[in-house]
């Protein structure tokens, strides 16, 4: 699989838009367009704190509007915290 080099965020955005345009139009997506989009999206995949590191403290509203903190979310043996792209698409 080709390794694409993107000059800047604008080029990556264009790769994502080209993919998005074809998908929205219901047109077949050539393999290179898909691959460019995937590589642009995954570029510099950052994964955050390592095992052994403390996570940032936070408090966020849940789907019922209640504010939840890390402490309050945690079970007796811990918490599986999952970061998603979106629930909407």
């Amino acid at each position: 699989m080709a390794r694409y080099n993107f000059r800047d965020a604008a080029e990556k955005t264009e790769a994502m838009r080209e993919f998005g345009r074809l998908r929205a139009a219901g047109l077949p997506i050539p393999a290179e367009v898909r691959e460019r989009h995937v590589q642009a999206t995954n570029d510099g995949y950052a994964t955050g704190p390592e095992p052994g590191e403390r996570v940032p403290d936070f408090a966020l509203p849940d789907q019922h509007g209640a504010l939840r903190s890390l402490k309050d979310l945690c079970g007796p043996n811990g918490l599986l915290l999952v970061f998603h792209r979106s629930a909407d698409w």
Binding site: T13, A25, V38, L60, P61, L80, R85
Partner: protein
């Protein structure tokens, strides 16, 4: 959805679950209701917490709807707020299955595990996936539980391999073997005896059609007693999975309908 299926296994082991995304509370409420999600969905509008975790995806410019998303990661966090383990595939199309974490972390297997028992000579192997349900692109864990009759061993150079049609990559973690002296050959061998368990991981390709997926694999090994060796053998097996349909939002479904008529 996939995490919800594993939630009971996590709860049994005292670990709770929560998800974070940049969606508003309303969107999350609708999603939770539609898919009967029982764990908290946290609204990180503006992606502040995503940024503070250091996983903000900087590849999008602000006019894209995907601006603000994280690089997907899952963290197992201790009650003290420290990362115990993190799970990710460096590709947003792939996710580590909740069932994989439940197997690897707690040794848990769901009621709908997909497993087969293979028997040959002095060997019995139960091999399978902790859940029958999966999604395209997921990283799954599988187990192989070996039982050898007393007096028999298998050489450490054994392998379990799945066909690659639906599998992008795979790896197996074999336990540390024992060293056994073989006086007749005046050498020592690395072997496994008795009962032992092996875990492996495989990454399903993305996309894959929904519905039944039969994963075919081969177990290769050689079993020997103190006096004789069986010929090396390869045992083929099949494990059925059910690939769930991809969850798409109502908005995307409408768009699809408009386009395909």
């Amino acid at each position: 959805m996939e995490l919800e299926q594993s939630r009971a296994l996590f709860a049994k082991n005292g670990v709770s679950m929560a998800a974070i995304s940049y969606d508003s509370g309303e969107i999350l409420a609708a999603f939770a209701q539609k898919y009967a999600i029982g764990y908290p969905l946290l609204s990180d509008k503006g992606s502040d917490v995503i940024r503070r975790f250091g996983i903000f995806n900087a590849n999008m410019t602000p006019e894209l709807r995907s601006y603000g998303v994280p690089h997907p990661v899952e963290y197992l966090i201790s009650p003290g707020g420290v990362v115990v383990e993190k799970y990710f595939v460096e590709n947003y199309q792939h996710r580590v299955a909740g069932s994989a974490v439940a197997l690897d972390r707690f040794g848990e297997v769901a009621a709908d595990a997909s497993a087969v028992t293979l028997e040959s000579g002095a060997l019995q192997v139960q091999i399978g996936f902790p859940s029958r349900r999966a999604f395209a692109g997921q990283e799954l864990s599988f187990f192989a539980r070996f039982t050898l009759q007393p007096g028999w061993h298998v050489y450490a150079a054994s392998s379990i391999e799945f066909e690659t049609e639906a599998v992008e990559r795979q790896e197996v973690a074999w336990p540390e073997p024992e060293t056994m002296e073989v006086p007749a050959l005046n050498e020592s061998q690395k072997v496994y005896t008795g009962a032992f368990e092996v875990h492996g991981k495989l990454l399903l390709r993305f996309p894959l059609p929904e519905g039944e997926l039969v994963l075919r694999g081969r177990l290769s090994l050689q079993q020997c007693s103190e006096s004789i060796c069986e010929p090396p053998q390869t045992i083929a097996f099949e494990l059925p999975l059910v690939l769930e349909p991809f969850v798409i939002s109502d908005r995307d479904r409408e768009m699809k309908k408009k386009v395909t008529g």
